[in-house]
């Protein structure tokens, strides 16, 4: 390691730490408890945790098979498919929201069909979960795919030569070996879902207890009551730290 490396590294660290520390410094501690436990705040936090958990579950069910396919398939179309599935990683969330509207909105391709059958998605909690899944699933897919690639498919081929069927191999060899990747993928996915803002606002709207998650509540409160916004921002920072902390512990455990 060159002797000068710590200098930009420290600057890089401060670049991230200083603004977060500054937010903590602006918290009005005397009223913090009251602000954070107001009905609007608690409703938003509960909704955020619930929808993020649901979105993470959906992302796992849909994303894990994708990750396995991407890691194991040799088809040249896999590259194209991967690029498309990972698109929400680089797409501004609000564009994702517009895309979701075009698909599931009342006048959307699927939305019009669902609406005709009495099923409305826009402005419901389901819309929040869809928006969060859309933006967060790529984190899970790429995280698991990475772990599977590093692990290689040697054990699976051995299992196959010993007579295990594809399903049995998938469940008893592939999945246990992918667990660390699955763990960090779930954590990253949950963190991203928790922070989702742009796609939710565009696609799901904002109504207390239905679609107004914690990030939306922070954005709204900032308009009138910066103290509440800052207090809620701190809550989100703490939750995010816990999530990232959990991910780090898992990754460490996987390496050793």
């Amino acid at each position: 390691m060159p002797w000068w490396l710590p200098v930009p590294a420290v600057v890089g660290g401060l670049f991230v730490v200083v603004p977060v520390a500054a937010v903590v410094g602006r918290v009005d501690w005397s009223s913090f408890g009251a602000l954070v436990t107001s009905p609007a705040s608690l409703t938003a936090l509960g909704l955020s945790l619930g929808t993020a958990a649901a979105a993470t579950g959906v992302a796992f069910v849909l994303g894990y098979p994708l990750a396995v396919l991407f890691a194991r398939s040799t088809s040249r179309w896999v590259g194209v498919a991967r690029a498309l599935v990972l698109l929400p990683l680089v797409l501004p969330p609000v564009v994702g929201g517009l895309a979701l509207l075009a698909a599931y909105g009342r006048l959307g391709v699927l939305g019009a069909f669902l609406d005709a059958h009495g099923l409305r998605i826009a402005f419901t909690t389901t819309a929040v979960v869809i928006a969060q899944t859309f933006v967060a699933m790529p984190f899970l897919v790429s995280s698991i795919e990475g772990a599977l690639r590093v692990g290689g498919d040697r054990y699976e081929r051995v299992a196959a030569t010993l007579g295990a069927g594809p399903t049995r191999t998938f469940l008893t060899v592939t999945t246990p070996r992918a667990l660390p990747g699955i763990g960090s993928g779930l954590v990253l996915c949950a963190a991203r879902a928790l922070g989702e803002f742009g796609a939710t606002l565009t696609f799901a709207g904002s109504l207390q207890g239905v679609t107004r998650t914690l990030p939306l509540e922070i954005y709204l409160q900032r308009e009138v009551d910066p103290d509440t916004a800052v207090a809620l921002a701190l809550v989100l920072v703490v939750v995010a730290l816990v999530v990232i902390g959990a991910a780090t512990v898992r990754t460490r455990g996987a390496v050793t």
């Binding site: 501004p92 969330p93 609000v94 564009v95 929201g97 517009l98 509207l101 909105g105 009342r106 006048l107 826009a122 402005f123 922070g195 989702e196 803002f197 742009g198 606002l201 565009t202 799901a204 709207g205 904002s206 109504l207 207390q208 679609t211 107004r212 990030p215 939306l216 954005y219 709204l220 409160q221 308009e223 009138v224 009551d225």
Partner: protein, 273 residues
């Protein structure tokens, strides 16, 4: 993540500004003839006309009209550059408080202007326009909405502004005046979000300003609300204390309040202050 927050309004705003730009091409055109209408009614004498550059912080709802007014002012007064920053009034107040370099502030409500006056950052504000709430509906008004009371239908997807933002406060006042209890499916962050949800067909109806209906260019129809008269929004403009070019700032603020300026605002659906 909040950087993406306002992209959807931006899409609408971008569309609106294209409309504004199209409108602007008329400005220089009649300016090269016998001078735009603004010059004579500005009241600024050409011998002492200030030059230089100013930055005007204006409420998002003023994007179209102020862009036009700025172009016309520049055309009528060579040597001047009027730059704009459009955003929600409370965002702009926050930016000015944090030292953003602005010369003029035009607010979409009196409360936000008062915040600056309280901290002695702005000079005496003067009202230059007013706005009232209207019901935005899909073109042709398929749900036959005629008054505020028609918005309480169980199957009607209504969208309004959230109570903490200025348009939401106005909505609440109009609701009280009409004695109606509205149950929106979503309470949006800004009036442009409400407009967007109606224009895109996501919602059946929304409460927006008359100027938003005018600026939507046919994407929505407007249904006037009688009770809106109980909650008229007034737009004040003020020169900021820290302005680097107070002479030009005052001259531009005066041009907004001039007859020519008022005509541009009236054409966009604004009422008299």
């Amino acid at each position: 993540m909040t950087t993406h927050a306002r992209k959807w309004p931006l899409v609408v705003a971008a569309a609106l500004s294209i409309v504004a730009l199209v409108g602007c091409t008329e400005g220089p055109a009649d300016g090269t003839g016998d001078g735009p209408a603004g010059t004579r009614s500005d009241g600024t004498s050409s011998t002492t006309a200030p030059t230089g550059t100013i930055t005007v912080f204006a409420a998002a709802s003023l994007q179209q009209t102020f862009t036009t007014l700025g172009r016309r002012y520049e055309a009528a007064h060579p040597g001047t550059t009027i730059r704009f920053s459009f955003a929600g009034s409370s965002d702009l107040v926050e930016q000015i408080r944090n030292g953003a370099p602005a010369d003029v502030f035009a607010s979409a409500d009196e409360a936000n202007m008062a915040k600056l006056a309280r901290t002695d950052l702005a000079g005496a504000p003067e009202d230059f326009a007013s706005n009232v709430l209207e019901i935005a509906v899909a073109p042709g008004n398929p749900h036959r909405i005629e008054r505020l009371g028609d918005l309480t239908g169980a199957d009607l997807q209504l969208v309004t502004c959230a109570a903490p933002v200025p348009c939401g406060a106005v909505t609440a006042r109009v609701e009280r005046a009409a004695g109606v209890d509205l149950h929106p499916v979503s309470e949006e962050q800004s009036v442009t979000d409400v407009l967007g949800k109606v224009a895109s067909g996501q919602a059946d109806a929304g409460l927006v300003y008359a100027t938003d209906v005018e600026g939507a260019d046919g994407a929505v129809d407007g249904v006037p609300v009688d009770e809106s008269a109980e909650a008229v929004t007034t737009y004040p403009i003020a020169v900021l204390r820290d302005s680097g070019n107070p002479a030009l700032a005052r001259a531009f603020a005066a041009s907004v309040r001039s007859d020519a300026g008022q005509r541009v605002l009236a054409a966009a659906g604004f009422g008299k202050p």
